[in-house]
């Protein structure tokens, strides 16, 4: 419903732009929420759910306040300045994710393993710490608060960055992130175990491509450059980054093998 309102109130964006923003925010937030869920599940299953869930909820509250303060203040800054600064930040963030996803897909750095992360955090929660018999468990609260703040900060940045492209785009970005959070919470409640089957590297690959495309586009707009095809340049940039990334995976494998043989 809120997306329909955005499309009606800001007709210049079009469904392609709104849909891409929602999709990018959803996928990027999904990755971060899965990582936070893994740790909160480990903390809750070992030290009790009350303190773990309270820690996660407190962090979500702090993040909501940050968004409420940061969001409206962005509207006071000239659009070109936001596009330039935020575009540069998205580029640094998105190209970093894409680079890492390529190296992971090529087998040069290990894949992120949610099951292993869960086991590691579970063991850390058990080692040398006695569980609080009654009342609040400060360690569980702090651990859940910490991870939710860490991963949540990334989600807030992604939402603000994707929403910074223009007036009316913050809402679609926030909708994407909220749906991701609700999906992960629902799956966590239903399964009570880490979401190890989520293809995290594939998601990071796709999000890296989308953020790199958005970042390049916003920086260009902010710098006063002219994109051929205007907004249609975004899917073109995404396609080009995807093609380059897909070509780089076998090239990396070959490069590493060649260097390995010559040593």
């Amino acid at each position: 419903m809120s997306l329909v309102l955005v499309a009606i109130n800001y007709p210049h964006w079009g469904w392609t732009h709104i849909g891409t923003t929602v999709g990018a925010a959803f996928l990027a937030s999904l990755v971060e929420c899965v990582e936070a869920l893994t740790v909160v599940l480990a903390v809750g299953s070992v030290r009790g759910w009350r303190s773990a869930l309270a820690g996660a909820a407190a962090a979500l509250g702090v993040l909501a306040v940050i968004v409420a303060v940061l969001g409206p203040s962005l509207t006071r800054i000239p659009l070109h300045t936001i596009q330039l600064v935020v575009g540069a930040m998205i580029l640094l963030f998105g190209l970093r994710w894409l680079r890492k996803a390529i190296l992971r897909a090529a087998g040069l750095i290990p894949l992120h393993d949610e099951a292993a992360a869960f086991a590691k955090n579970e063991a850390a929660m058990r080692t040398g710490i006695t569980k609080a018999a009654r009342g609040w468990d400060k360690i569980a609260f702090a651990a859940a608060f910490h991870i939710t703040m860490l991963e949540g900060t990334e989600v807030v940045f992604i939402v603000v960055a994707l929403g910074a492209g223009g007036i009316g785009l913050l809402l679609p970005a926030a909708v994407g992130a909220t749906v991701a959070l609700m999906t992960v919470v629902a799956l966590g409640l239903a399964l009570h175990r880490p979401l190890a089957r989520v293809p995290e590297n594939t998601l990071k690959f796709v999000v890296g491509v989308l953020l790199s495309a958005f970042g390049t586009f916003w920086v260009g707009e902010g710098a006063g450059l002219v994109w051929p095809g205007s907004d249609l340049a975004i899917p073109f940039l995404a396609g080009a980054f995807l093609a380059i990334a897909l070509c780089l995976v076998p090239m990396c494998r070959l490069q590493a093998a060649t260097v390995g043989e010559s040593k």
Binding site: A88, L92, R99, T153, S212, V219, G260
Partner: protein, 71 residues
């Protein structure tokens, strides 16, 4: 306050994990934003140069990593 420090570290890590890679991105952004518009006859070309530079930086960084770290 250790959590605040780790959040600050994490936020910095969002943007930078290879200094050469991040430095190259910022350098090319500065060139495209402040220098190229003075010389490029068309703003379309400057936009294409922005994308081409980013793509080259990504390719160079990934292949450099692959050369340095064989399987």
């Amino acid at each position: 306050m250790s959590w605040l420090k780790s959040i600050a570290r994490e936020v910095f890590g969002l943007f930078v994990d290879d200094l050469t890679f991040s430095g190259a991105i910022l350098f090319w952004l500065a060139i495209v934003t402040f220098v190229l518009p003075r010389f490029a006859s068309s703003r379309h070309w400057a936009a294409a140069a922005l994308f081409a530079g980013m793509a080259l930086i990504l390719i160079e960084s990934v292949l450099r990593f692959a050369r340095r770290r064989p399987k």
